[in-house]
Amino acid sequence: MIQILTGIQNTSAALDAEQTRLEVISQNIANAHTTHDVDGKPYQRRVVVFETALQNALAGGPASGNLPAIQVAKIERDTRPPMEEYDPGNPEADARGMVSSPNINIHEEMADLISASRTYEANLAVVKNARSMALQTLSIGRH
């Protein structure tokens, strides 16, 4: 297959990774008040960890032929303690009347959202640039 837009593979992988990050942030925002996760504890904030695919290439993994620049390594839980608020009427309240709510700060999530969407935009700009470079190259010698 002709590689007509060079460097696009890496950008495509980066777009994939940023999209995963956006999904995780949206999950965090959606669960900002979930006091009962699947394990019965309050929801813990999820964090995406990126890695370069170079590690896979060194290990002789499947990515050794065609190197994506970035991939999602894992989605980890934020280990910060849950926030506690006094709400004795809440069915989830403990003996002291405290309710453990997720360790999510909505402002922090919004800042993360902005950062992820700006990174996505930057990668789209790379695609746009690669396209316009290819088209300009095609017009060599045209009068």
Binding site: M1, I2, I4, L5, I8, T11, S12, L15, D16, Q19, L124, V127, R131, A134, L135, L138
Partner: protein
């Protein structure tokens, strides 16, 4: 040796190349039915061009596939479909550019006074 003396040989070569272009012999083949280049004549210009056309065709088909997959709800990211569409479009323009250059040189020869 004047630079003009090599023109007859050059034009004969070019004309034979144009003669061997696929699709010149009559019916227009459907894009999906384009013949794959055989290894026997892999050096000839027409087979190179045919290979290029079929690659552009494959790229168009794969972009159509990813758009179809996206529309039918498969787990295809939007940007991947759009990037494959862009790739298909740019390689099509490359093909058109090659065709334009060929036609230009053909017309240049046809304008030549004998």
């Amino acid at each position: 040796m004047s630079p003009l003396s090599s023109i007859p040989a050059y034009s004969a070569n070019l004309l034979s190349q144009i003669d061997r272009l696929p699709g010149k012999s009559g019916d227009v083949a459907q894009p999906s039915a384009l013949p794959a280049a055989t290894p026997a004549d892999s050096s000839s210009f027409s087979s190179l061009l045919g290979k290029m056309v079929s690659e552009v065709n494959a790229q168009q088909q794969s972009s159509a596939q990813s758009v179809n997959a996206l529309q039918s709800g498969a787990n295809v990211p939007l940007h991947q479909a759009v990037i494959s569409m862009e790739e298909a479009s740019v390689s099509f323009q490359l093909m058109v550019e090659v065709r334009n250059r060929l036609l230009e040189s053909y017309q240049e020869i046809m304008r030549m006074t004998m």
